[in-house]
């Protein structure tokens, strides 16, 4: 059951966007996030929506699949919406005890909800079109110039790779331990929150012990294969910026320029 969780949610379709250099996609995503904060009107959101829809279309990822990614976040979006409605002062249109609904609040709440939705859809486009390995490689490569100021680029990337590698293994193990404890009468499903949290202890303790043992063995296996950190290490996959990457960055530049123009107009 736990095995079904797809981490990173890579959705390979081999589209134009999938084939881009991961660095390009990471940078574009960052630019996009910044762009979202330039937005100050619903007209701009219209532009953003068009842009995102265009990207989804090019990526060949089904829109339904994209929206499924929003589901777990709907609670956060709704809470943001409600808090904004009640917490913004201005023209009161409805009173609910000490809480006031204002026109400005309604506007602000809708605005924030949209921002969140676009944020999630845009960034999940990155993880859907980029395999976790490519993503890690891209991050390592982008952080490399920051090494002199003490950013451990290689180590961070290696940590991510190993985490990705061990997530399925540990999930499988959790499943196994859970079943073993259930066979001994453990109950993970009923009772109040405190009881449920308590019932997790016999699950987490063995899991942690095993994770540490695995880490120990993995470290030894890596050393045995001549691992000595990032120095002198080459990579099988070399990242190269191609024509398509430049085109994409240009498109992104234009998008940002339009957003800025709409804002200062």
């Amino acid at each position: 059951m736990l095995k079904d969780i797809t981490i990173g949610q890579f959705y390979p379709t081999g589209s134009f966007i999938h084939e881009l250099d991961p660095r390009t996609k990471i940078l574009i995503t960052f630019a996009y996030i910044v762009g979202l904060f330039i937005v100050s009107s619903f007209i701009s959101y219209g532009i953003v929506a068009l842009f995102v829809l265009g990207c989804i279309f090019v990526s060949k990822i089904p829109v339904k699949y994209m929206l499924k990614g929003l589901k777990p976040l709907r609670v956060i979006i709704i809470i943001t919406f409600i808090i904004n409605i009640f917490m913004t002062s201005g023209t009161i249109i409805y009173s609910l005890g000490p809480l006031n609904v204002t026109v400005e609040g309604l506007y602000q709440g809708t605005f924030m909800a949209f921002r969140l939705v676009f944020l999630v859809v845009g960034t999940s486009l990155l993880t859907l079109t980029t395999s976790p390995i490519a993503l890690t490689d891209g991050i390592e490569n982008l952080l490399n110039p920051l090494k002199p100021i003490g950013i451990p680029a290689h180590e961070l990337a290696m940590m991510m790779t190993i985490a990705l590698r061990f997530i399925p293994t540990l999930l499988e193990e959790t499943d196994k331990i859970m079943k073993a404890q259930m066979a001994r009468g453990a109950d993970f499903e009923s009772g109040n929150i405190i009881n449920r949290a308590k019932s997790l202890v016999p699950l987490l303790v063995p899991l942690f012990i095993s994770a540490f043992r695995r880490a120990d063995e993995l470290a030894m296996a890596m050393e045995a294969r001549c691992y000595r950190g990032g120095d002198n290490r080459t990579r099988m996959k070399q990242l190269v910026i191609q024509k398509n990457d430049i085109i994409s960055m240009a498109v992104m530049g234009m998008f940002i320029a339009i957003l800025i123009y709409v804002r200062i107009r």
Partner: protein, 294 residues
Amino acid sequence: MSYEGALYIEFKRGIYMEKMIKVDKVTYDYSNSEKEVIALNNISLEVKQGEFVVIIGHNGSGKSTLAKHLNALLLPTEGDVFVKGLNTKDESKIWDIRQFAGMVFQNPDNQIVATIVEEDVAFGPENLGLQPNEIRNRIESSLKVVDMEEFRHKAPHLLSGGQKQRIAIAGVIAMRPSCIIFDEPTAMLDPSGRKEVINTIKKLNKEEQITIIHITHFMEEAVNADRVIVMEDGDIVLEGTPREVFSQVERLKKLALDVPQVTELAHQLIKEGIDLPHDILTVDEMVMKLCQLK
């Protein structure tokens, strides 16, 4: 090349190439303030180029500790270990030593680093600083040797235990080692996975001329070795061809070890007064000898 030069190379071959591994009076001490553990006790051992050595011994006899000495994962408290003539204590040679002497561990899950098979096989060559083209060539040839080419782009966690272990082996041979140490590589596998891995190990020895040191609890896996070494309390207590070692059934039992099932059967039959040799190792042999009776 001058005559002296040629002689020198011959000389070097004689001394170094012949001896893949030399363990010289090694003692290893895990002791801490709480208790004293001497895992290796003045042990000496030599392994020749191309040899297939199997090490057996019950739990805690020091097999894994010895294995970790052979590629400088552990350094001797006393004594020296030489790999192709290089002392493992020489820090400047440590990466050469680890490239010469690869190691495969028991748990396949805990030695695979990457999320895609080919990326994992690439891990060792990347650490050696090879060029991308060369790395790709090595991935291809290594996966071919272990017969896992069609899994090149698969995720390791979806493979069976035997397949994972073969990927781990591919990751080691991609570094072109002269010697591979296997520390109970079959202990966590089902019988079919065990067979896959054992056949791969045999193939590495026969076809790739890789020296093999194979630690195992399965006596059947020792039958085809050139030499069997029995460890007890951090030292070698018995050593010889599989026939020599397994014919000493009583001695092995005292060491809390088994013999191959067929050898055990022969031993029982001899006890019952049937005229059989002590050193039967395989079912075929047993059938032959039994048919020749009367």
